[in-house]
Amino acid sequence: MRAENYQARHQPPSHEYELNFGPNHPGIEGNYALKVRLHGDIVTHAKADGGYLHRGFEKLMEQRLWIQNIALVPRICVPDPAPMELAYSTAVETLCGLDIPVRAQWLRVLQMELSRIAAHLFTFGGHAATTGMYNTMFWGVSDRDLVLDLFEELTGGRVYHIYNIPGGVRRDVTEGFLGRVAQFLDYLESRLPDYDNLFFTNQVFVTRAKSVGVLSPQQALELGVTGPNLRACGLAFDVRRDDPYLVYDQLEFDIPVEQAGDAWARTLVRRAELKESIRILRQVIERLPGIPGPIRAPIPNPLAWNVPAGEYYARVESSKGELSWYVVSNGGAKPWRTHIRGPSAMHAVQVLETLATGARLEDVAQIMFSLDACPPEVDR
């Protein structure tokens, strides 16, 4: 917000003062800001201030061909771009009535779960850094890099894969790739006790995170909380289980739940999800070689592709929660309307404002990171 557009709140004289928390602050995720009103170090009022990352994706997508948008969609959320591709592709495929080859669905699960692991490692790093524990951040980022290496081999792109296209995926696995994924999974699993010692059960962190930013299950449902944040309140809802897509209904995995609803519980849920993702990926590695078939359904000439008129609401479970994509076609060569519902649209605005109010200033950053909020999902 430019200075000339800032309007101070007119309040009676008091000991309270306003503080701009962000957009340049080590405790804020991405370019995002909070205006907090403080009494001592207690936050009495918090107001989210977004818009620093607005790039007008929804408008841009209306001006591009259905296939061109594939290059655009992963750029909405940097830490976890893969579910964006999947949600958009699913919507377009449903509108066209395309059946996706089974092998492509397994490859998509492979991409989704690797992306979930990468996103969680990134989040742990950021979250640890808000409590001054930079080692975990270095570890998390360097282990995430190993996933990016795998992505580079599978898709050609490290961060933005542009791997899912309507109809299937762009490439099959290379020779020996699944072995390298298995190696990485073994390595990550062997690292988890170290992570536990360093971060998850470290008393420095546990004492700092317990009872901070507590959400009750009732509050969570009212505020539209989804994903790990909802599961940390004891509610085991997961789009992969409740509204199954791809081949998740053929995979064995648990939905980790914690009861406390505080910052520590949210972190533990993500820690447990790492293990579940490893479990899912091991099943993929085991079964993928036995699944024959093409990796793409035939699609019309993508440069002259009129998607039949209709609308569809596609939902997937990203690492942050329920990611939905509402796509409307009027039968033309470009989408008539696309609407992205990122999970952080709830977490970074209403939920963050609610939880920050009444908290101490030093806990605000930790609350935001424990919610795993991704500001570009708010701004789009």
Binding site: G50, G56, D243, H339, Q350, D379
Partner: protein, 201 residues
């Protein structure tokens, strides 16, 4: 739109159950489709009562999103309310149409709290005013004083041409190349945005 009820139903009776529930409210058509995605076409005045019913009796506690769609040829905005029931594992999309002018509708913030975010977003991007919403203010487009940008008549390229100057990119290292007949590979007439100054336009 799929007009047949799919066979892989998660909750086979959800369609009948919804039909039964919706008898209480007039002005709703309910075409059958895939069991996990139900569509309701609702008269605008019946929507708040419908959502209150779905949330209260119907276990649809989660407002997933509110989407706005602009239909300038019909002179209407379409508002789509996606609500989810965790128990039934069903998402219902309730569609209403409101006239483009004056573009006002009722807020459902008192029924679903997350509506506050989506209504403010639609207010900024489409200029639809939601009466009763506590947040009818700018959030993302704080610095924006143009028309609501997501409306179909808003032309991004035209706006750029009207409000910004194009700059020629001729750094010293490029001048040498241009003197030898080289330079930027795309000819100026082929560029998507032509190098037009404000005075020419």
């Amino acid at each position: 739109m799929n007009t047949e009820v799919s066979t892989d139903l998660v909750c086979p009776d959800v369609y009948q159950w919804l039909c039964h529930l919706l008898k209480e409210i007039d002005g709703i058509t309910h075409p059958p489709r895939h069991a996990r995605r139900q569509r309701l076409d609702v008269k605008a005045e019946a929507l708040p009562a419908l959502l209150a019913l779905l949330q209260g009796k119907g276990s649809f506690v989660h407002l997933s999103a509110i989407s706005a769609v602009d239909w300038p040829d019909d002179g209407e905005f379409e508002l789509v309310y996606h609500v989810t029931s965790y128990e039934l594992k069903v998402t219902v999309s309730a569609h209403i149409r409101i006239p483009r002018a004056p573009g006002r509708y009722l807020s459902i913030y008192d029924i679903y709290k997350p509506a506050g975010f989506f209504e403010r977003d639609i207010f900024e991007m489409y200029g639809i005013y939601f009466e009763g919403s506590p947040w009818m203010e700018k959030f993302i487009l704080t610095e924006w004083d143009g028309p609501p940008p997501m409306r179909k008549e808003f032309d991004s390229e035209g706006w750029v041409n009207d409000h910004f100057d194009w700059q020629d990119y001729h750094p010293d290292w490029l001048k040498d190349l241009e003197a030898q007949g080289g330079g930027i590979a795309i000819r100026s007439e082929e560029q998507r945005f032509s190098r037009k100054s404000k005075d020419e336009g």
